[in-house]
């Protein structure tokens, strides 16, 4: 009886060990399916954009599978994403990624939503030497730590508002003033993303020797910036720059309207996400809004066609979208990177795939993709759109501009 028990125990433990060994090896490529893993926000404060990103991932996967999947070693594989909800908390992101690697055996990753959660993800990727192509973490601190397994298709945060500065310099010169006469007022939320945006602005302002007259940092519970705006009234700057995610954009738009702020040039991040045009109407006319991507841009690629084509496909696939958020577009683009990389590497070896990602260079509906050694995308610039009669029109950089800049802004037109 004792031997019988021993036998059972031994065979059971062998079976467990076998499962543990077999599990990961099979899980990353199950039959003819390659599993990509992602811990992303379906609940909590990032849930809106987290779900946009998930829709983007799913659409990218769907398109690639429809087009015949990924060909590695002469065989066709389908893509599939295994999701977990990180509840918008970085700690949870890290736990779930560990779980995806250790228990689910996933070896290829798509990013979470937000810089904060991506910051938690990057060290895990390094630890297990598994690559992640992310689309939603723009903080520049992600790309100055020497991470080797993190790649991002989007432009980094310090580029968000920097182009406004050169635009302001252009306007000043056109009006016979010196760029160094330009007075800048700015208010940024006290969080890593917005402070990166600020750093980019300061760098460019220094180049033109412009004067920063207001440099406020807004708190996390951002429900009032009227005291900053009172300062704007007093000091009459030429440019007003604001960044504090959607909540900052909504708060700013409301109070700029209520306090009748008449600064000739105003730039705000996250205009679309905060739906300020629908909420605050004509008072938002003339706002400059940076965007990663717009469906009116002339980008083109072989998977989705042009940016406009992607826009159409997305709206057809998902109900309830009047505008396609750029968060979704860049998520789809990051799935395309995986397809290109697997085929270039022609292998499932994580290091070979990683090297393939680092060296790919291709055009997409989202813009050109080519990674810097630090992992950020060098190919694609940040675009500046202006709200003109309720529509978002590209005004900078001039290469892609569809409309001229309206200056000074006239709110009630």
């Amino acid at each position: 009886m004792n031997t019988k028990r021993l036998l059972t125990a031994v065979s059971a433990s062998l079976a467990v060990a076998g499962l543990a060994l077999a599990g990961p090896a099979q899980a990353k490529v199950e039959g003819d399916t390659i599993i990509l893993g992602s811990a992303i926000s379906f609940t909590g404060k990032y849930s809106t954009n987290g779900i946009h990103a998930k829709n983007g991932y799913d659409l990218g996967v769907k398109r690639i599978n429809e087009m015949g999947g990924v060909k590695v070693g002469g065989k066709s594989y389908k893509l599939k994403v295994q999701y977990y909800d990180d509840e918008s908390t970085p700690l949870r992101t890290a736990q779930l990624l560990e779980r995806l690697v250790n228990q689910d055996g996933v070896k290829y990753f798509l990013g979470p939503y937000s810089s904060a959660t991506t910051k938690a993800a990057a060290p895990i990727m390094e630890k297990y030497k598994v690559p992640m192509v992310e689309a939603e973490g723009a903080s520049r601190s992600l790309f100055n730590k020497g991470y080797k397994y993190l790649f991002a298709v989007l432009s980094t945060s310090e580029q968000y508002l920097a182009s406004t500065i050169s635009l302001a310099a252009e306007v000043a010169e056109k009006n016979g003033k010196k760029p160094s006469d330009v007075k800048i007022a700015m208010a940024f939320e006290n969080d890593p993303f917005s402070l990166d945006v600020r750093a980019g602005v300061l760098e460019d302002a220094k180049k033109f020797n412009m004067k920063v007259v207001i440099d406020d940092k807004m708190p996390r519970d951002l429900n009032d910036i009227s005291s900053t705006l009172t300062k704007v009234k007093a000091l009459k700057p030429d440019v007003l720059l604001l960044s504090g995610h959607s909540k900052g954009a909504a708060t700013a738009a409301r109070q700029i309207k209520e306090m009748k702020i008449d600064t000739p040039m105003i730039a705000v991040t996250h205009c679309e996400a905060a739906k300020i045009v629908a909420k605050f109407g004509a008072s938002t006319n003339g706002y400059l809004c940076p965007t990663q991507w717009a469906e009116t841009l002339s980008y083109k690629g072989k998977y989705f066609g042009s940016a406009a084509d992607y826009d159409k496909t997305f709206k057809k696939t998902y109900d309830g979208y009047k505008n396609v958020p750029y968060q979704a577009a860049q998520a789809s683009a990051s799935v395309l990177v995986w397809k290109e990389a697997f085929e270039k590497a022609n292998s499932f070896d994580t290091d070979k795939v990683r090297d393939a990602i680092a060296s790919i260079e291709f055009e997409t509906f989202y813009g050109p993709i080519k990674f810097a050694p630090e992992g950020n995308n060098l190919g694609k610039p940040m675009v500046l759109r202006q709200i003109q009669k309720g529509a978002f029109n590209v005004v900078a950089p001039s290469k892609y501009a569809s409309h001229p800049l309206a200056w000074p802004r006239k709110p009630e037109e």
Binding site: N223, S226, S227, S246, K260
Partner: protein, 300 residues
């Protein structure tokens, strides 16, 4: 910092903007703080969910606004709904912790705050929302001072609500019962007052007051599911400074806090606007401590 102060001395007109904005928002702070003082004074429950009651009230007005009801009409509805909600919370949660130690009621209301914030987030999403009154904005002094009509209306409504609550507490049977219970619950019970009902009513009344404050805040500021904590802290600062049972004190402290916040934001920068609130709380506590020590020495 000195640059900003020199703006205020060189162009004093901007002081008017700061003071007005501070008074308008301060009035809603005072309202929420009065509710807190009531619950604290009568039931000895420190309601950490106070801010979330305010935000919930705001969401009710905002949601009704989306259905086509003007948010100003949404306010009375918000008051009624929140009254019912407060009663429900009392029956399900507060009644069970009211005679337990302080820590239990703190934990219970803290838990309630988290659940409420997450529920709002699930129902309405994490975006910042504003209820639009579509009233005009007036400008004075060559556009240096702007006053939105809705802020004036909200200020007046705060005043009206405060008067109504005071009259109610003074003259109605329930108001008298509440005051009696606050003084000595055992004696009140002996006199035939159903203190359990008094507690339920007090808690519900507090929720209703928060509902009103929240509806006004959704019209003059912005709301978001996780903004409750800021409002809870403000209410605690005000009550700590003024003491409960001291309505004029609460009103003064509320308005003063509103103005201080605006000046803090202007002079020190927006990053210190809310820090001003917490800084004030520390200052008030230190001052209280010194005062009490002096008092103790006198007694000795």
């Amino acid at each position: 910092m000195w640059d900003n102060i020199s703006i205020l001395t060189a162009a004093p007109v901007f002081n008017i903007q700061l003071i007005l904005d501070g008074l308008f928002i301060g009035a809603t702070f005072a309202l929420a703080a009065y509710g807190l003082a009531l619950v604290w004074g009568v039931m000895n429950v420190k309601n950490l969910a106070q801010g979330d009651f305010v935000i919930t009230g705001g969401y009710i007005a905002w949601w009704l606004g989306k259905q086509g009801i003007h948010p100003l009409w949404g306010m009375p509805i918000s008051i009624v709904v929140m009254f019912g909600f407060g009663w429900l919370v009392y029956i399900t949660i507060i009644r069970r912790v009211i005679d337990k130690d302080l820590f239990t009621s703190l934990l219970a209301t803290f838990g309630l705050a988290i659940v409420m914030a997450q529920a709002l987030n699930l129902m309405f999403g994490p975006e910042v929302q504003t209820a639009e009154s579509d009233y005009a904005v007036r400008s004075y002094f060559n556009n240096s001072v702007t006053v939105a009509d809705i802020k004036l209306i909200a200020f007046a409504l705060c005043g009206v609500l405060a008067v109504v609550v005071v009259l109610f507490m003074k003259n109605s049977r329930m108001g008298q019962a509440i005051r009696a219970t606050a003084q000595d619950p055992r004696a009140a019970r002996v006199m035939g007052i159903d203190t359990d009902k008094v507690y339920a009513f007090t808690y519900a009344l507090n929720a209703a007051i928060c509902g009103a404050a929240g509806a006004l805040i959704s019209m003059i500021w912005v709301i978001q599911p996780f903004y409750g904590i800021g409002h809870a802290i403000r209410a605690f600062v005000i009550v700590t400074a003024a003491g409960f049972g001291n309505l004029p004190g609460v009103i003064l402290a509320g308005l003063g806090l509103g103005v201080m916040e605006q000046y803090g934001g202007f002079v020190l920068g927006a990053e210190f606007q809310q820090a001003t609130v917490v800084g004030l709380l520390v200052a008030v506590l230190i001052w209280r401590q010194i005062e009490m020590r002096r008092h103790r020495q006198v007694v000795q």
